[in-house]
Amino acid sequence: MSVESHIAAVPMAESPASPAPSPRLSDPERWVDEHGDYLFKYALSRLRDPLKAEDAVQETFLAALKGGKSFQGRSAEKSWLVGILKNKICDHYRKAGRETSFTDLEFYQDEESDRFIPDGPFKDGWIHEVGPQEWDSPGASLDSEVFWQTYRDCSNKLPKNVATVFNLREVDGVESKEICAMLNISENNLWVMLHRARMALRRCLETNWFAKQEGAK
């Protein structure tokens, strides 16, 4: 991602007095061609259902038409559209949270319990061979596209509701209390789900990325 679009990720205020003819309504179909795929991939990874993702993208464009603003840069346009899409996705979660319980009980079984010593004086200590291993220069991984693909694939493997909670909290940086209100779950439930998600994701990344990096040397 370019530096320019990174900066533009900050919510845009009204463009400062721009007499330039607004390009927005001239060709909204260009929006669909230019940003459609980006928005769709984003929505799909969150909603995990192509039909729902398509709907979310369509709603995003329609909402954008209504609240039409003009933009100087296309990257600003994109981050504005992503902002609208995020809201649409949150609306979807809110609705889902009202209709069904968001707590993922199946995932409550301690799937990491095989990493801890089951009994004896050191019960619940890490089993040294399978506990967290040293990660080799994790900072360098951040520049690798394959690392982020692995990250995405790992988060896609999480149970749906756990992934939702994880994405809202970790990727979007929404505060715990807000998530609880949105999904209609208790704070304690949220903590447990986050703990499970982080643990599973760490393990998945270690197996599928960091251990392989080590092996590649």
Binding site: M1, K41, G68, W126, Q149, R152, H195
Partner: protein, 104 residues
């Protein structure tokens, strides 16, 4: 040397019995990202880190993932994956066009 080893073992055992277990430590590591822990608990965790490289790594790695996860959001739309299907694309365009004429 022998004395040192025996003192070290005693220290490790003492710390083990006076700090949270590793399973508990992993929960606390996550909890600390949601709300501040008490000073007492933070001290206990520090002490546990002295004897346990695994919990130390776990703590560092979870914090690393927490810190950099927002970048995934920016990357998501760019990673290779299937985009909008042809049908969906034309359907959305039709909708956009219809709403555009309504707006004008």
């Amino acid at each position: 040397m022998k004395l040192f080893t025996s003192l070290k073992t005693r220290f490790v055992v003492w710390v083990w019995y006076h700090t949270p277990t590793c399973a508990e430590m992993s929960r606390l590591t996550s909890r600390a990202l949601e709300q501040p822990l008490t000073l007492r608990m933070r001290m206990k965790m520090r002490l546990h880190f002295v004897i346990c490289a695994w919990c130390r790594r776990y703590f560092e790695q979870i914090n690393f993932l927490h810190e950099h996860a927002p970048r995934l959001g920016m990357r998501l739309g760019e990673l290779p994956a299937r985009g909008l299907s042809f049908e969906a694309r034309s359907r959305i365009k039709t909708q956009v066009r219809r709403n555009l004429t309504l707006a004008l």
